[in-house]
Amino acid sequence: MARVVVDVMLKPEILDPQGKAVEGALGRLGLAGVTSVRQGKSFALEIDGDVDDARLAQIHELAASLLSNPVIEDYVIREVTA
């Protein structure tokens, strides 16, 4: 069983109103000095068998088409554990 985590974040130039709202709440709850909050998504994939190069390439392809929208988002594959 392998585990692959794909993180998706809005591109820096895209306004993130949800992150802004969270930033405001953190300040109201007493956390000083927060200058920015960006809210993203994380996908944890549990996969039977090994993640070889071919499968990883397939995951990259789907991360760039289904899991993220490259017009507004960037993705990173954060973790591959066998």
Binding site: L10, I14, L15, P17, Q18, A21, L66, L67, N69, V71, I72
Partner: protein, 225 residues
């Protein structure tokens, strides 16, 4: 011969009935198309209606974009078939890359529901030929993720090529860049619009009948074609 306009239903579509009704009021035949059926049944044009396909999970329109019907629709649209995406339909068209840019969470974070004044800026598309350039219309708008975003280069290109179909007037309800309410592809056959013309086609149920023009436009265009 009556023109046949397909209206796609995805799981979670809400406005497919109203879109079909608008087609009929305009004088066309509405043909129900199903998300799981990769066949457009030889329709003359297609409307992707509003709603919350797949519960808006992942991103609005992101899962609908991979529905079997969309494979056929993307090919047909690239071949010139007229397609109008309204609200969630606009989101599906952007996710499909038939239209540039994307629709993101309203800058206010609030779901907005109001009668919205728009200015029609392009009448060269088959969906807007019955309007005049600069004509102001009022139709319902209801969205939570209707903020139109694209790179500055894409926004300049859309404006430079006359592909901004409609713009918000009086107030910008969702933070859309440059007050953009609707755009077309380069060819003009694919139009995406965040407000809802299909809810403004008769006095009994709509704030106006200003939205009917989108449906009469396509029917006239098809008759002449």
């Amino acid at each position: 011969m009556t023109m046949r306009i397909g209206v796609v239903t995805f799981p979670g579509s809400l406005d497919d009935r109203d879109a079909a009704r608008a087609v009929r009021i305009a004088g066309g035949e509405a043909v129900a198309l199903w998300h799981g059926d990769a066949d457009l049944h030889a329709v003359d044009a297609v409307v992707l209606p509003g709603g919350f396909s797949y519960g808006d999970y992942l991103r609005c329109g992101a899962i609908a974009r991979f529905a079997p019907v969309m494979g056929a629709l993307i090919d047909a649209a690239n071949g010139g078939l007229p397609v109008l995406g309204i609200c969630n339909g606009f989101q599906v068209l952007c996710e499909s890359h038939l239209l540039p840019g994307a629709l993101v969470r309203n800058d206010s974070l609030h779901f907005v529901c109001r009668d919205q004044r728009l200015r029609i800026e392009s009448t060269t598309t088959p969906w807007t030929s019955d309007y005049t350039v600069g004509q102001e219309i009022v139709v319902p708008l209801k969205n939570g993720e209707g903020g139109y975003v694209a790179s500055e280069a894409v926004l300049d290109e859309l404006e430079g090529e006359g592909r901004v179909v409609a713009r918000y007037l009086e107030l910008n309800p969702n933070g859309s860049r440059r007050d953009i309410a609707g755009i077309s592809n380069a060819r003009g056959n694919v139009v995406g619009l965040m407000p809802h013309p299909e809810h403004a086609v008769e006095a009994l149920t709509g704030p106006t009948t200003d939205g009917l023009g989108f449906f009469t436009s396509i029917l006239k265009g098809l008759v002449e074609a």
